[in-house]
Amino acid sequence: MYGWEMLSFNIHDGFLEAIVRGNRSGLLTASDYNNLCQCENLDDVKMHLTATEYGPYLQNEPSPLHTTTIVEKCTLKLVDEYKHMLCQATEPLSTFLQYITYGHMIDNVVLIVTGTLHERDVNELLEKCHPLGMFDSIASLAVAQNMRELYRLVLVDTPLAPYFSECITSEDLDDMNIEIMRNTLYKAYLEDFYKFCQKLGGATAEIMCDLLSFEADRRAVNITINSIGTELTRDDRRKLYSNFGLLYPYGHEELAVCEDVDQVRGAMEKYPPYQSIFAKISYGESQMLDKAFYEEEVRRLCLSFEQQFHYAVFFAYIRLREQEIRNLMWISECVAQNQKNRVHDSVVFMF
């Protein structure tokens, strides 16, 4: 029912849309970032942040601050806002909001499994997990020895269970397997989310599918670049790409056979939306690619706020906050390590 959402959207979701738009106006602006970049030490950063919406979360921190504290408190704010929205949401918005966190859940599972593989302390690992991707029995992941056990013991209770059915092997867990597992899970998750958004229909489907396609294409490029020179076969690589997006299917065929970064570039430049991203970076360089992709993502996320009566704003807001926290982490690190000339390397301005 495209175009008719405005008749009924506000009955259930109007309040939350207002909330999320209000929250969006609390995002840091370019002038905030400029001020933050001029800070001399972390206390200055804190002082500037207390004047923003992060104020109540940071004001009770004693003075010798650490980057981790700042990031932790900023994340706490995001989590609080997310929880508030989830409490108020009704179906299908609540399912949509939960879908947003599955990505973090996958990351957390992989983090814990890799950590236990390298015999790290579980509690230490738990602190590193993203709070949005927590679930009850996450700590017991450490018990599992192979993927089958992982599934049978813990993940069967989580929403990730259906995604797992695709990648169960009885092989032992090692770094390579875990990485493949992460990407297979992510592929299944993105496809499921894509299907769910299409089912919702209307403007949500249009905007979300666009955003998710971009996400899938970016992952495809990243997988390709990261797997160059590893023992991953072309077929295996091909299997990790999500079955939708602008690159699907012909772009995937080309990416699957790429042997170096310039070949990836050649394959990608056939797609006009990605030309501009690759035009920004010189040949043979892949470091700046992340930033270019982030910038493009932020641009698309901001655009989703231009239209009303759809769910993509919730997705966009949470992603933008996450980007903002990444920015803050980078800035605080640069300030703390006195490398202010590198501040602009990784900060993505939003407004």
Binding site: M47, N60, V122, V143
Partner: protein, 699 residues
């Protein structure tokens, strides 16, 4: 017009005359001067560093120290609340302490407190561990004992499911066997005992079941006593569990799961004698610890109490200090870097007070150079400042809620001191209710001194702030209630006897034939005989509605007249011609005329239908009025009213469209009217103006 011109200027309605001043303060006396100025509260500094971010300003370090101190103070009050110490704010006369001293003192207190907290936390943790161990010993011991002694199941403290009983017995049999065999005692079934959060117990059991593929037996019992969580300080419910299993691999798995669920395992010996021995030992240590813990808590509470008695004073001090430095951050250094330059606004009457205060600051700070204070030519328009006292303050706040008047604009709050409570009373009018309100207002006013020094709830605060408004509302309610003759909605014969009486003694036809008038009209207010009569409602409605129209129209007229005074004060002839005049004509040719009709109808006792008159004035201005004619020349007046109105509208509209001069000119200089943009941005401001001048008084 001439009449208006001869009226005195309404100076008491305008905001204070302001002047723009510059202060040049030597660095050493600046802080003291700003402190004194802050206490005086009659100077508004202008931010001269607007383009600088907070940490680029001069006194950023001091502001940081203040925020750090207020963080410490928040920490103290948090701790005091957590500990439940009710520290009475005793007005102990302690010597004023210096800012630096206070900072050191706060740091010291925080350090002490943190140390005490870590100590007691450690103690509490050991205490909790021992307590848990004790619980595990008693409960798990019970479970084990019951399984050892299958002959006397009645001894068991736990009422378990029958199914459990059977399995239990089976295991007990196994254990028994192990004991009998002696050598293979530990090779058979082993167990792990511990304690876990009650909310996690179910998931824990499920996980154990899955991990061991069902080859285990889980037995649990509620711990009974709540255990304090050392981190959050909350009391949590826990469950004691005993897991029976076989095999070493299972053991490592189970221990891992225990770890990941935050379950703590405690070893429980199988022999009863040993158990009792350990139990006794643990109990002894527990009581020892309890004594130490209590002593520690008492010590801490004492420290908190001593902090708590000063907390309020310190908080105020830090807040003041922060405000002073925030103000100082608005100032600029001059070229020599020895003086601070500040600009700001102050009312003209306050200049001498400010000068005194600055003198005082110079003397107190032993500064060589005095503070230079002089007036300057303002660049932008001055801020509005109204002098209020405790009586007018509430009224000013009500008016400010609708919009703050611009500089030297007429302040409607002066009229609203009477009109607001009166209009309230017109609606509320009941002298019974009025007396209740009056008593409430008296209580608030008599206890003014006591209430103003303490913190009130949000509702009480509102009532207390508006105590004089309530007082006036109550007085007017009593007055209007007497006019309406209502005491809790019941009329009384206060001012003599009713003018009406029944036709006969029995009063049987009062409701059919009506009453007859026997005396002069009732001297004050509504005649009580109206009460309960058939025509009570139509009579009162008609009376009150007409009265409301009269009051509303005069209120609106008052508002427009105020705008005339405003325009005249600012020398704005255009405003008078194109705003005041059309508004006046429009209002009075319609509603003013209606008011006139009402008055005539009341005076003559005519039966004319005013609805009809007003409606047909528009539909058929030339038609015959018939029995609705109230006075000679009414038709001609109506026609002229209508024409006036029409011309007026055209005039208004044309002015608006012509754009040459706005109908709502605002700027005091007529030069600006030539610009198109002027009238565009003038419109919203004009509505704002209308609201302050009319809405304010209309309320």
């Amino acid at each position: 017009m001439g009449v208006f011109d001869r009226l005195p200027p309404v100076d008491h309605l305008r905001s204070e005359k302001m002047c723009f001043v510059q202060l040049i303060m030597p660095a050493e006396s600046a802080r003291l001067a700003v402190t004194y100025l802050g206490e005086l509260g009659l100077l508004q500094f202008k931010d001269l560093n607007e383009d600088k971010s907070p940490f680029q300003r001069i006194f950023v370090n001091q502001v940081k120290r203040c925020t750090e101190m207020s963080r410490k103070l928040r920490f103290f009050s948090d701790q005091i609340n957590k500990a439940g110490v009710n520290s009475s704010v005793r007005p102990v006369l302690q010597p004023d302490i210096d800012w630096e001293e206070l900072e050191a003192k706060l740091g010291e207190h925080e350090h002490d407190l943190l140390e005490m907290n870590t100590n007691s936390e450690k103690l509490l943790q050991t205490y909790n561990e021992l307590l848990e161990f004790k619980l595990v010993l008693s409960k798990a011991g019970g479970i084990l004992a019951s399984s050892h002694d299958p002959v006397a199941p009645a001894d068991r403290e736990l009422d378990e499911h029958i199914y459990n009983k059977e399995v239990d017995d089976g295991i007990a049999y196994l254990l028994e066997e192990g004991v009998h065999l002696g050598a293979t005692k530990n090779s058979g079934v082993k167990f792990v005992s511990g304690i876990i959060l009650k909310s996690k117990a179910l998931a824990f059991e499920r996980m154990l079941f899955r991990a061991t593929r069902g080859n285990m037996f889980f037995n649990h019992a509620p711990a009974g006593e709540p255990v304090t969580d050392p981190i959050s300080g909350e009391e949590v419910e826990k469950t004691v569990f005993v897991v029976f299993f076989s095999g070493d691999q299972a053991k490592s798995k189970i221990l891992k799961i225990c770890d990941s669920f935050g379950a703590t395992c405690y070893p429980v010996p199988e022999e009863m004698v040993k158990q009792r021995h350990i139990f006794h030992e643990v109990s002894l240590r527990l009581s020892d610890l309890e004594v130490t813990l209590n002593a520690g808590i008492q010590h801490r509470n004492k420290a908190l109490e001593s902090v708590g008695s000063q907390l309020w004073r310190w908080t105020i001090m830090v807040k003041k200090e922060k405000a002073v430095y925030d103000t100082l951050n608005m100032l600029n250094f001059d070229v020599t870097k020895k003086c601070l330059v500040g600009e700001g606004w102050c009312p003209i009457f306050a200049i001498s007070q400010i000068k005194d205060v600055l003198q005082c600051a110079t003397l107190r700070s032993n500064s060589q150079a005095g503070i230079i204070f002089h007036e300057m030519d303002p660049i932008d328009s001055p801020p509005t400042y109204f002098r209020t006292d405790k009586f007018t303050n509430a009224f000013q706040e009500i008016v400010d809620a609708y919009g703050i008047a611009r500089y030297e604009e007429v302040n409607p709050a002066v009229y609203s001191v009477i009109t607001f409570p009166f209009l309230f009373a017109v609606m509320f009018g009941d002298w019974g209710h009025g007396i209740c309100l009056l008593l409430g207002a008296f209580v608030l006013i008599l206890r003014e001194k006591k209430l103003s020094s303490q913190k009130l709830g949000s509702f009480m605060e509102m009532a207390f702030g508006g105590r004089y408004v309530i007082l006036l509302m109550a007085l007017f309610s009593i007055y209007c209630g007497l006019i309406y003759n209502e005491f809790f909605s019941v009329p009384f014969h206060i001012f003599g006897k009713s003018a009406y009486e029944c036709r006969e003694k029995a009063c049987s036809d009062a409701h059919t034939a009506g009453l007859i008038k026997v005396r002069d009209p009732y001297p004050f207010g509504v005649d009580p005989s109206w009460r309960g009569s058939r025509s009570e409602l139509p009579f009162l409605n008609s009376l009150k509605m007409k009265m409301s129209i009269l009051m509303g129209v005069s209120q609106m007229n008052l508002g427009i007249v105020l705008s005339y005074f405003d325009a005249k004060f600012h020398g704005n002839a255009l405003d008078i011609r194109y705003q005041f005049m059309p508004q006046m004509i429009f209002l009075n040719s319609l509603f003013g005329y209606l008011s006139l009709l009402i008055l005539i109808k009341w005076c003559t006792g005519s039966q004319a239908d005013l609805y009809h008159v007003m409606i047909y004035m528009f539909l058929d201005p030339a038609g015959d009025l018939g029995e609705n004619q109230l006075f000679w020349g009414q038709k001609e007046l109506q026609v002229s009213n209508l024409l006036n109105n029409k011309n007026n509208m055209l005039h208004y509209l044309l002015c608006l469209l012509a754009n040459n001069y706005s109908p709502f000119p605002l700027s005091d200089t007529p030069v600006a009217y030539g610009h198109c943009s002027c009238s565009m941005d003038a419109l919203p401001k004009a509505f704002y103006l209308e609201e302050t001048s009319q809405g304010g008084t209309f309320l």
